[in-house]
Amino acid sequence: MNEASILDIISPVMVGPSSSHTAGAVRLGLIARNIHGENIKKVKIILYNSYAQTGEGHGTDKGLIAGLLGYKPDSTIIKDIFNSQDMVSLEYRFEFRENFAKHPNAVDFIFEDDNPMTISAQSIGGGEIKVCKINEFDVSLDGKFNSILIVMGDKLGAIAKITSIIQKYGANIATLNCDRKTRGQNASLVISLDNEISADAIEEIKKEISPHLIRYVKKLEY
């Protein structure tokens, strides 16, 4: 589902100057916030390649921070985000690296707070984004669907249990993406849904399979 629709092509309405480097950055910040949770205290952000080299000129740093704080890509505050009141409670630092094995517009969010977590993602053009790694697990999240993200031990029948809970709560599965490094090791699972699912369903999955990590990641509305 990495295909652009007509609406993707003629939007977003955003503050400039770059869809991949500004709006894409805001959306990356937003999805990292959706995955990590809103209570962000301390974060290190590593920018790679084109993001590192031309990020400042494009307001990439402002965009990423604005997204982490929950602002939309068309918020006129982005330009002045570093002077905004929201910055008081956020500790952050940027690093800049070159690594051509990575996408030209790649970013790592390293959360160093009560909820430590590393999220690797990229801005793939026209404001579209992709989350490709959470901690050491390969995932594939584009923010177009409400998704359930799970990292769990490799247990027999776990996926069947999860999908039956999803079915019970009346949600329809659009895509299901699973990754496991080696047999018996942890596996990651991204389940994209066509509709919404209640917090109760997530709690029930949690009880049933005791995952290391479970997140309900809301789709990006803009």
Partner: protein, 299 residues
């Protein structure tokens, strides 16, 4: 099934006896699971944002983020006050509106990315200028933006609209092909001529690199927008006369994909070559650029 090529688009239009915008809006409503009316309302929201960006840009002469632009639209307007554009009012409006939007973008103002922010001045300048000069109603302008949209969408299946992926041909080039399609429709061209307008525009920007000075979407991006908008207008003029692109548009998109893949990453939004590394650009870079962004680059 999503329409993947311009050939399929044309066949679908013939089979269903529809115009491109009708085919496109039906498909898009299905993809998003919304009604055609809801889809058109969303397109109208983009159109409104485009109008607002033009309005704001036409009234401003505030310096851009990188301080390399922001005053040119005002200059052009001032010039036209005493020197009416010899190519006519349409040319004048397209030139000013595309400059206005691009400058607004570089000020971190609110614009509609179409298909990207760097190319945001091209499609709106053509559609809104046509609307004003020929008194075209809003519904028809929405149709034209839908046509621009599906043109960009089909190109994007092969070449993502990103300078970092395939150079400026994928951003301003795609936008020019989109603008040409919209404009041809607003001149009441048939499906063949609409596709041919896009083909002529796209074919003649292949190889365009992305080499922004100091990494800002300013030089050459701001002035490139009016060039690419008027480039679209030239394509439409030729298509209206019956001039046909020898290479059909689907093949041109293939060529653009290959050209983008062969293009050095130094010329794809990394500011490591081309205009970004000219003598003048290096002097500007040394004078202005915060060093911290380079010092930490090499691990």
């Amino acid at each position: 099934m999503t329409i993947k090529t311009f050939e399929e688009l044309k066949e679908t239009c013939i089979k269903n006896n529809t115009e491109i915008w009708q085919t496109a809006q039906l498909q898009e409503a299905q993809i998003h699971d919304i009604t055609v009316e809801e889809f058109r309302a969303r397109v109208n929201k983009t159109l409104s944002a485009m109008k607002e960006a033009i309005k704001n840009g036409m009234e401003s002469s505030v310096l851009t983020n990188g301080k390399m632009g922001g005053f040119d639209c005002a200059k052009q307007k001032e010039y036209y006050k005493n020197n009416p554009c010899i190519y006519g009012k349409l040319y004048e409006k397209i030139l000013c509106y595309s400059l206005a939007t691009s400058e607004e973008n570089a000020r971190m103002g609110r614009i509609a990315a179409c298909p990207t922010a760097g190319a945001c001045g091209i499609v709106p300048s053509v559609i809104i200028s046509m609307g004003e000069i020929y008194n075209i109603d809003n519904e028809k302008l929405i149709n034209s933006l839908i046509i621009a949209g599906i043109t960009g969408q089909i190109i994007s299946f092969k070449v993502k609209p990103s300078g970092a992926t395939a150079g400026c041909q994928a951003e301003c080039g795609s936008a020019s092909a989109m603008a040409a399609a919209a404009m041809a429709y607003l001149f009441d061209c048939d499906t063949d001529k609409i596709l041919n307008s896009s083909a002529l525009a796209l074919k003649n920007i292949l190889g365009l690199t992305c080499d922004p000075v100091r990494g800002f979407v300013e030089v050459p991006c701001i002035k490139r927008n009016p060039f690419m908008a008027l480039h679209a207008a030239s394509a439409v003029e030729m298509a209206k006369a019956g001039i046909v692109s020898v290479i059909p548009i689907d093949d041109i998109v293939d060529a653009m994909e290959q050209t983008g893949a062969l293009m050095s990453s130094d010329l794809k939004e990394s500011s490591r070559a081309g205009l970004a590394k000219t003598k003048t650009a290096i002097v500007m870079e040394k004078a202005c650029f915060t060093k911290k962004y380079y010092s930490a680059l090499k691990e």
